[in-house]
Symmetry: C2
Subunit: 341 residues, 2 copies
DNA sequence: CTGAAAGCGCTAACAG
DNA sequence: CTGTTAGCGCTTTCAG
C-alpha cells in the first residue's frame, strides 16, 4: 500500500540509493536522472517515511515541549513563539502538559527521550528530583529551560530579568505618589516571584519618599489574588496600590477590590506582571510588566537547535530578555484624602 | 554511546530477540531469563528507540493535532482533553498551529503523514482545497474533525449540537421577558455560527410572545463583538438583550456596552456561547452556552485510537455532544420602561 | 554519476 | 522457551 524508495527505484530504473540522493540533496545526480526520479515520485505520490529516515540518520526532527499547562496564557504565547521557530526550521513540537505532576513529568521526559527528540524545552523543572535531573542531563539531549534564572541548573535557558521587572513596577507606583503599597507575592519559594519581590523592595529602598510596603504570600492564581486582597482590604491598612506578582493574580485582586465596593484605579491602583493578552481586555485595562513571551519561546527553540547541531560544543547557554512596563488604566495617583482603605 | 538491545543481549548472554521479548511482553520468556534481562537493562540504563520500533511495527504512537491556534481558549480546553486521553493511551501529540493559513496547514498535514502519525485531529479543515481533502482521505490515516457538523466531510468527527445551543440561548432570553434581542453572528459562512443563529430564530418562532430579532454579522472576535455592538447601540433600536455567537464576541460586546454607559444586565442582558474559562472571571460573570470542550478532545482521541487499530472497519464515526446553559449574572429580566436603548 | 552493500535498532515469524 | 533470520524504509560509505 505505502510506496517506498524501492518502488520508485524499480519504476524509474535506477538504484534505490540514487533515488534517495535525487530526492534529498541536489548533489551527485545527473539532472536528467533526478528529473526522472522526481517525476516518478510525484506520479506515485511518494511520501518519505520519516521514521526510517530518522532511524538511519539518528535525527527525529522533533522537539519536546514540557509545560505545566498550555492553558496558562503565558505558556500559550511561549508556545506560539516556539512553534513558529520550529516550523520554519522544519521541526515539530511534541507538546506535553505535566500539570506539575512529578510522575507525569518524569514519564513524559522518558518517552520524549525514547522518541529521540533532538531537544527538550521545559517550563517546569522544579518537580524533578535530583536524580531525575541528572538522568536528563546525562541523556545527551540538549535541554533549554524556560523562565528559570541563569545557572539555576546546568542546562541552557531563556529567561527574563525578573528583578528589573520588580523595580519597574515598584517605581511606577512610587512615582505616582503611593505611600502604602502591597505586594502580592506568588509564592514564598518560587525564584521568579522572589526576584520580583526583591525588585519591588529595591524600588522602595531607592525612593526618596517614605513608603510602606506590605508583602503578603499566597497562591499565584486568580483565587489566590482574590483571597490575599480580600484579607488585605479587611485589615484596612491604608493601602492605595497593589502590585501583583503576575497578571492572573492581579485579576483575582481586581475582583476582591470591586467586591469591596472600591474602584480601580480611583481607590486602589493595581499593577500586574507578564502582560498576558487578557490584561488589555479586562476593565480597566491592566498596567503590567511585559515579558517578551513569544520571543522567549522563539529564542528557546533557536538555542535548542543550535545545541542539537552535532559538532556544537554543547556548552550551556543562557539568554536573558529585558522587560518593560506597559502603562494602562489600572494605575493612577492616589486619591487625596478620602476613600483610603 | 547509546545503548541498544544488542548490548543487553551481549551482556546478558541471550539473543537479542529474547531481550526484545523480555522487555516488551511478558509471554514466552522464562521468568529467570526475563529478570536477568531486566536487570541488565536497568543497569545499563537502557532506553528503547521508538523510531526503530516504530519503523519495525509500522506504528509511531503519535497523533497529530492541527488547530488554528492553541491560544484560543476553546482550543486550549480541547487540547487538554485530547492530551489526557493520548497520555493514558501511551501516545504523544504533535501540536500544530495553522493560524488558518492554508499553505501552513497543508505542509503540516504532509509532514504529519511523513512522520507516520497514527491519526490526525483537526479543527480547521475549511482552509483545505478539495484535492487536499482528497489527498488526506486517501492517506489511509484516520482523521477526526473537531466541531464540524456531522457528514460535512467524509471524516469522523466530534461535535456539539449547535442548533440546540442556539435554542437554549434564545429561549433563556425570551423566558426572561426580552422583546427585542440581537444576535451577533460570528460569520455568514461558518456552519457552526449559522446553526447557532438558526437555533436562536427557532426559539423565537417557538415563542408565544412576539419578539423582534435583529441579526448582525461580523467577525467572531473581541473586536468584532465590540464593533457590532457599538453600531447596534448607536442605532437605538430598543434592544434589551444580546446573544453573541461565542464568548469572546460577547466580551467585545460587553466592552461596547460599558463604553456606552450602560450596565449589564440592568440595561442590556448578554449571553455568550462556549463557556470558556474566562466567562466566569469577567464582570459580570457571563451567562453562556456550555460546550463540553474537554470531553470532546478526549472523545476525539478515543475515536481516533479506535480507528487506528488495525482490523477496525474504518467507517467514519461521529459523536455529537449536548450543550447546556450556564446561567450567571449577565442576564436578567429587562428593565421596566426607562433605560431602553 | 550510479550501483552494491551494510547498517540504523527493533520486531516477528519460523525453527529448533 | 530461545535463537536464527528476515525485514521495516532509508542513508551512506565504498567501489566501479
Amino acid at each position: 500500500m505505502t510506496i517506498t524508495l524501492k518502488d520508485i527505484s524499480r519504476e524509474a530504473g535506477v538504484d534505490i540509493a540514487t533515488v534517495s540522493r535525487a530526492l534529498n540533496g541536489t548533489y551527485g545526480v545527473r539532472k536528467a536522472t533526478r528529473e526522472k526520479v522526481l517525476a516518478v515520485a510525484k506520479r506515485l505520490n511518494y511520501r518519505a517515511n520519516l521514521l526510517a529516515r530518522g532511524l538511519a540518520m539518528g535525527r527525529s526532527h522533533t522537539l519536546g515541549l514540557l509545560v505545566p499547562d498550555v492553558g496558562n496564557p503565558f505558556v500559550t504565547e511561549l508556545f506560539r513563539g516556539a512553534e513558529d521557530a520550529a516550523y520554519s526550521a522544519g521541526y515539530h513540537l511534541l507538546l506535553c502538559n505535566s500539570y506539575l505532576d512529578p510522575a507525569r513529568e518524569v514519564q513524559y521526559i522518558r518517552s520524549l527521550l525514547d522518541k529521540r527528540v533532538e531537544g527538550i524545552l521545559m517550563h517546569s523543572v522544579d518537580a524533578l528530583s535530583k536524580t531525575e535531573v541528572k538522568e536528563l542531563a546525562n541523556s545527551n539531549v540538549p535541554v533549554v529551560l524556560l523562565c528559570r534564572p541563569p545557572n539555576a541548573y546546568s542546562f541552557s535557558g531563556v529567561s527574563v530579568n525578573q528583578f528589573e521587572g520588580g523595580i519597574l513596577g515598584g517605581k511606577h507606583l512610587i512615582d505616582l505618589g503611593h505611600k502604602t503599597v502591597a505586594f502580592l507575592s506568588g509564592s514564598r519559594s518560587h525564584p521568579n516571584f522572589i526576584e520580583r519581590g526583591k525588585g519591588f523592595m529595591k524600588a522602595i529602598a531607592l525612593s526618596s519618599e517614605k513608603v510602606t510596603s506590605i508583602v503578603v504570600h499566597g497562591s499565584p492564581s486568580f483565587g489566590g489574588g482574590y483571597q490575599m486582597t480580600k484579607k488585605l482590604l479587611q485589615q484596612k491598612r491604608g493601602i492605595t496600590a497593589i502590585f501583583a506578582a503576575n497578571d492572573v493574580t492581579a485579576f483575582g485582586a481586581a475582583r476582591a477590590i470591586f467586591e469591596a465596593g472600591l474602584r480601580i484605579p480611583d481607590d486602589i491602583s493595581l499593577i500586574g506582571f507578564d502582560n498576558v493578552e487578557l490584561a488589555n481586555i479586562v476593565r480597566p485595562p491592566l498596567t503590567t510588566i511585559h515579558q517578551p513571551k513569544y520571543e522567549m519561546g522563539h529564542a528557546a527553540v533557536e538555542l535548542l537547535l543550535g545545541l542539537a547541531k552535532d559538532g556544537s560544543l554543547r556548552v550551556p547557554e543562557h539568554r536573558q530578555f529585558g522587560v518593560q512596563i506597559v502603562e494602562r488604566n489600572s494605575t493612577s495617583a492616589p486619591a487625596k484624602k478620602i476613600g483610603r482603605v
